[in-house]
Symmetry: none
Subunit: 420 residues, 2 copies
């Protein structure tokens, strides 16, 4: 089965936003073993959209589009798709009822406008939107299918995962597509070239599964992809290669597939029965934000004290004024005092801290932008690390947060090995 991806929106043609929707869907479809040979982007123009969809339906069985489903005048996807498929729009009562209930709960009065979103191509199946009002739809006629989802990434993803991807997966299976199984190993504390060098022989020897390394923010993903008659056979091809990679790179492998570092840390903390508190300076709350993205993190995450001013480091964390005066806010001594303070003030088993200069201002020759100190304190004492990072303000924040979580990962890993 061939699927062509469509992204609808003039803002995409003006470069005002980067099209992450198409990349997300492309990746999910590749995992289903569905072929995607073209991606097309068109603006909010009915004629050009219709012409492009006609071209697409000549070379693919399915057009999967995002964008242009909102309540405003320039949202044309439903009307154009209906026309190209030889039908027209009709109200969908279930979708209309959802919108009425939503509007009522919010005291919204502009119902007519919102109700435009409940007009779907006649004969289409509505795709429920669990996080917004605009429904999507799936419309099949004469052996061709068009699917439309909203452009808001959170809505698009929820609807794809709940309805559209299962639908396409079932069709792909029904057509006997070869199963593509992928497995991503997630590594931290090693660079892309070094990881690749350690397994260069495997990468060259293998074609099924293929092995491809990808560099992410202070981590590396190794993606293994195998094709076989069914999923079980594909998994059997991956297993020995994964085992060999794990044998060589185990200390760096923190998880697999969609598992983020903070999720693995959460499992480790729960298994060890330990609690955590964080003291943040240059990361501004990002470490706490990442840790609390994990459902259930309240079981082990007690608090993060984002102490941006020196005075708040003293008042909230008990960092000695003398330490700040003698060594400055960005110093190993202050990092250690912050980690100890986070632990003591919150009553947590482990205190983790980060202090540094995110820039673009505030750097000096002795302490340049990108200089960062990380510390971890627990019942065994404290460790402090110095890092010199590059990038703009946000990149330095992200890299610092990742390295702080890596410091915690190593500590928990070492302790698990001792007790395990």
């Amino acid at each position: 089965m061939r699927v062509e991806l469509f992204s609808v929106g003039t803002e995409l043609l003006l470069g005002e936003i980067v099209d992450t929707n198409a990349a997300y869907l492309a990746e999910k479809l590749s995992h289903l073993g569905v072929d995607v040979y073209h991606k097309t982007t068109v603006g909010d123009n009915a004629e050009r959209l219709a012409a492009a969809v006609r071209v697409a339906l000549e070379r693919a069985e399915v057009v999967l589009a995002t964008g242009g489903l909102g309540p405003t005048e320039d949202d044309l996807t439903a009307a154009v798709f209906a026309k190209v498929m030889g039908t027209d729009l009709a109200p969908d009562e279930v979708a209309a009822e959802r919108i009425r209930a939503f509007a009522q709960s919010r005291g919204i009065t502009l119902l007519d406008r919102l109700l435009k979103q409940a007009r779907l191509p006649r004969g289409a199946e509505a795709v429920p939107n669990p996080v917004g009002t605009a429904p999507g739809f799936i419309l099949s006629r004469r052996g061709k299918t068009v699917i439309a989802l909203p452009g808001v990434p959170a809505e698009m993803k929820a609807m794809a995962e709940q309805t559209v991807l299962p639908y396409l997966a079932a069709r792909a299976r029904g057509e006997g597509s070869a199963a593509l199984v992928t497995r991503t190993l997630r590594l931290v504390g090693i660079g892309e070239s070094q990881a690749e060098a350690e397994i260069a022989d495997l990468i060259h020897a293998q074609t099924n599964p293929t092995i491809a390394p990808y560099a992410k923010t202070m981590e590396v993903h190794l993606r293994l992809a195998a094709r076989a008659a069914d999923e079980e056979a594909a998994r059997a091809l991956i297993a020995p290669v994964e085992a060999e990679i794990r044998r060589r790179l185990q200390p760096h492998i923190y998880g697999a597939d969609d598992e983020a570092l903070e999720e693995r840390l959460g499992q480790r903390l729960r298994a060890a029965g330990k609690t955590l508190a964080v003291a943040e300076s240059c990361t501004g709350g990002l470490i706490g934000h990442r840790l609390t993205n994990v459902p259930g993190s309240s079981h082990y995450f007690l608090a993060s004290m984002v102490t941006y001013s020196n005075q708040s480091k003293v008042a909230l964390l008990g960092v000695p004024e003398a330490t700040l005066a003698a060594h400055g806010a960005v110093s190993p001594e202050t990092a250690e005092a912050m980690a100890e303070g986070a632990r003591r003030r919150s009553g947590a088993d482990i205190g983790l801290s980060a202090t540094g200069i995110a820039g673009p201002e505030g750097g000096t020759e002795a302490k340049p932008v990108g200089l960062v100190y990380l510390a971890l304190a627990d019942e065994e004492g404290a460790v402090v690390e110095e890092q010199r990072l590059r990038g703009d303000r946000l990149m330095i924040k992200e890299r610092t947060a990742q390295l702080a979580l890596y410091l915690l990962f190593r500590r928990l890993q070492a302790q698990a090995e001792v007790t395990g």
Copy 2:
């Protein structure tokens, strides 16, 4: 002049990388007043690439492609573009000489492979690559032009800026293309449909500038785009329309163009000489993270206390245990005590707080997932707001953070109006 953008590479169709090249070129072209009506992505397949280029050359005068110019077998752009334009490849001596010099300086021996990159369509003008070996090219025949650049973003950008964009700008000027100027007004505290309804008459009456609304996370962007002979004339077309929109929607307009809400808040806080501290529960640090993404935020942002456990709300913020016992952690009373506590403990002028249930667990019938309380405390007293949000855990965090910043925005706005 119409340009169609092409992105060449199977990795784009597998979703392994996000296509930032196309967004970059689209934005640059819009500033030149060049029309881009389509973007097309195709894989490393000669037949499909040729077919797609033929389609593109029927609807645009210029095809501008990135990717597929490297030294490996699957780099097909030069050969396919030559064929579609009715010519073949020939060695380009200047390009070959550059590659030889580069290879020698690095001790590279795979010269044959690299020299493949010096074979360009016969009659093409080479586009020099100041930061790599692969040259690009511009080839014009029979009123149509194809342009190819490498896919590596740093090389693509350098070559676009040095050669391709000046070339296209000169052609656009020669053809009397108009300058396009865009202006984005950023609104908070109003939905997309309501914003559109308030200015529906303007949207319909206007074609230059056009006005288009876009929904973002708990905010709306209104994009005005005007075409005129030069930038100054285009700006003059936008000014009165922007003034009328501001007259109608002023309380909601927090900024323009790339300015984020946290940046505007920073300016307001600095102008008012006020400091801020935050107390976060369900947002986990995200409010602090956003506030500290602004360079210079240390001038007004003192601290954020991310108090995830009840015990940390008591110990770090001084929330009375009786309040937690009587009303729970997610309650107007606790939100107010958190905001007061953040202010008192940090010595800030303003305390801002958020407490809620981000899910997916922890909801009850009385307090469902998505129930959030926000509070702001300053010398005038405290205000508390209840919100009922939808979405997954991350969306509820993001929406809560945005609404907390909006609460602060309104307070600073009201105070600025009194003092101003």
